[in-house]
Each structure stands twice: as C-alpha cells, then as structure tokens.
Amino acid sequence: MRFRIYRFDPEKDRKPYFADYELEPHPSDRKVLDALTRLKEQDDSIAYRRSCREGVCGSDAMNINGRNMLACITPLEGLREPVTLAPLPGFPVIRDLVVDMTQFFAHYHATQPWLQNGEPPPERERLQSPAEREKLDGLYECILCACCSGFCPSYWWNPDKFLGPAALLQAERFVADSRDRAGAERLEALDDVYKLYRCRTIMNCTEVCPKGLSPARAIERIKLALLRRSA
C-alpha cells in the first residue's frame, strides 16, 4: 500500500514536503493508525500523536485523503492510494503530523467550560430531569479532536479571533445545561462579529466530526438563543 506523508522537521527542513512510503499489507493492519505504527518501523522519524487507539481521546486527528479524520478509526480498506496523510489544516505544524493546539484550547477555555451555579449546593446532586439531560446529547460527547475546527474555512482565515466550531459547541453544551445559571452571560460573551458570527453555516464541521456531532446545529442554537434574547 502506498502512502504520501507530510513531513516537516523544524531542525532540518526549511519547508514542509510530502514523502512517499510503501507498506507491505499485513492482516493486522485494519486502520490508518496501524499503518502509521508500522511505517514508523520503516522510518523512525515520522512524528504523530496517538493514545487510546479507539476513537475517544482525539489525539490522532489528521487530514486523510483530504478529509479530517481520526487515524485510529479510519479503515485502510477503500482508501484511494497513495493514502495522503497531512496535519490538520490551518493549525501551526510543530513537526510532521503534530500540530500546535494552543490556540484551539485557548478558545475552548475562553468559553468557561465549567458549570456555573452560585446557588447553595443541594444535599446530593443538582437534579436534572431526563428531558433536560437529553438536551446535552450531541454536545457532551465532543472529544476536542479538532477535526471540525481544522476543516472550517472561517477558522482557517481567522484562527485567532473566530472561536471555531469545537469551542462554540462546548459553549452551547453549557448554555443548554439546565443546572447552569450563567446562560445570559455566556450568550452575551459570544455575541461578537468575530467570535461567533464568522460562522457561515458552511457545515464542513458536521461533515467531518468523528463522533457524529453537529457543531453547525449547536451554533444555530446559539444564534437563535441570541435572537430570542433581543426580541
């Protein structure tokens, strides 16, 4: 199987380049991550992040044949050769397939992703009805892999000012949480021409989310909530 991998070593290369590799098929090679592991046996210098190898940690998000995916759950079968591996688009490349996630996480932290409730804590839990809990479905499952933000053209053009689909989805996760009491402040903080309104509903985010979430829908909910507040 033929691979084309984005290579960049800041200590050796002036510019990034694509290098070609050949891998003998092995029955145990099922996913792209398996292939990468064996390719690393060929060329030890290939750098990439990985951890859980089961699609829940989000470490190995990368651009595979033009789409952002998690390497550990992307089957090798059916991939057009040469399988092209590139880092997440729009993110500063530290080395090879490893990107700088600082800005991405800064946006996440800016949304204050923790429950804010100043009321005296109850005896045990802050209760939530099943219907209220359902509102978090499609929002809490985000693994912050950055496949979405790395595929959003608006995030590419303004990564420093646009919060991006991932952070916005997390913002909505807390706005939608019935136990949270800071909804108004959260929405107020999002009402900004750059932070939120760079979103043009291109929907690239929803197309690539490996967990099947829809940041586009979360963002629409935020926009509607803002409209309702001002109406």
Partner: protein, 111 residues
C-alpha cells in the same frame, strides 16, 4: 467599532434577504406569467409614487444586503486593521453613493 454588532448584521442580512426574495418572486411572477412589459409601461409604472417608494425600499434592502455581505468577506480575508478599516470605509461610501444615485433617479422620475 460597533457599527453593526454581529447579531445586528446577521439580522439585517436575513431581513434584507427576505425583502429581496419577495421582490424577486413578485417580479418573476409578473414578468414570467403576465403579458410582456413594454418600456413605456415600465416607465409609467415606476413614475407612480407608490411604485417609486417600493423601488426605493428594494434599493435600500439591496444596499444593506451588499454592505453586510461585503463586510463579511473583508472581515474574513483582510487582517491588517488599518487596511481593513480603509476598505470597509471605501465600500461604505461607494454603497452610500449608489444609494443616493438610485434615489435621485427614482425620485426625479416620479416627479
């Protein structure tokens, strides 16, 4: 600069879009399914004050829509602050001039 906060721009873009959509649909129906319109008929219709007012509304919606749209494009691609402000100002002035010109044409025709 709080000229058109994010939400204001968003709402204005949608509202102006609806106005433009209504006009386009009405025009398409009239021109597509009604009898062909001659130049004289068009000029006579546009001379009525009500029609001129409607056309002014259309022009206003068009300019607002064009402003928000162009602003979006500039905000996306132009990053240096001074350059961005300059381009937005130029576009704003250009659209305002277009609006004034349109109003002049419509009003002088109706009078």
């Amino acid at each position: 600069m709080r000229i058109f906060s994010g939400q204001q721009a968003f709402v204005l873009q949608r509202l102006s879009a609806l106005v433009l959509l209504a006009f386009t649909a009405a025009a398409a129906l009239r021109l597509g399914f009604g009898a062909p319109v001659s130049l004289e008929q068009w000029q006579a219709w546009a001379a009525q004050p009500a029609a001129a007012a409607l056309l002014l509304l259309l022009a206003a919606a068009l300019l607002v829509h064009a402003w928000v749209g162009t602003r979006d494009v500039v905000l996306d691609y132009v990053h240096p602050l001074l350059l961005r402000l300059s381009i937005l100002s130029l576009v704003g002035v250009a659209l305002a001039l277009l609006g004034a010109w349109t109003a002049f044409v419509l009003v002088t025709h109706a009078l």
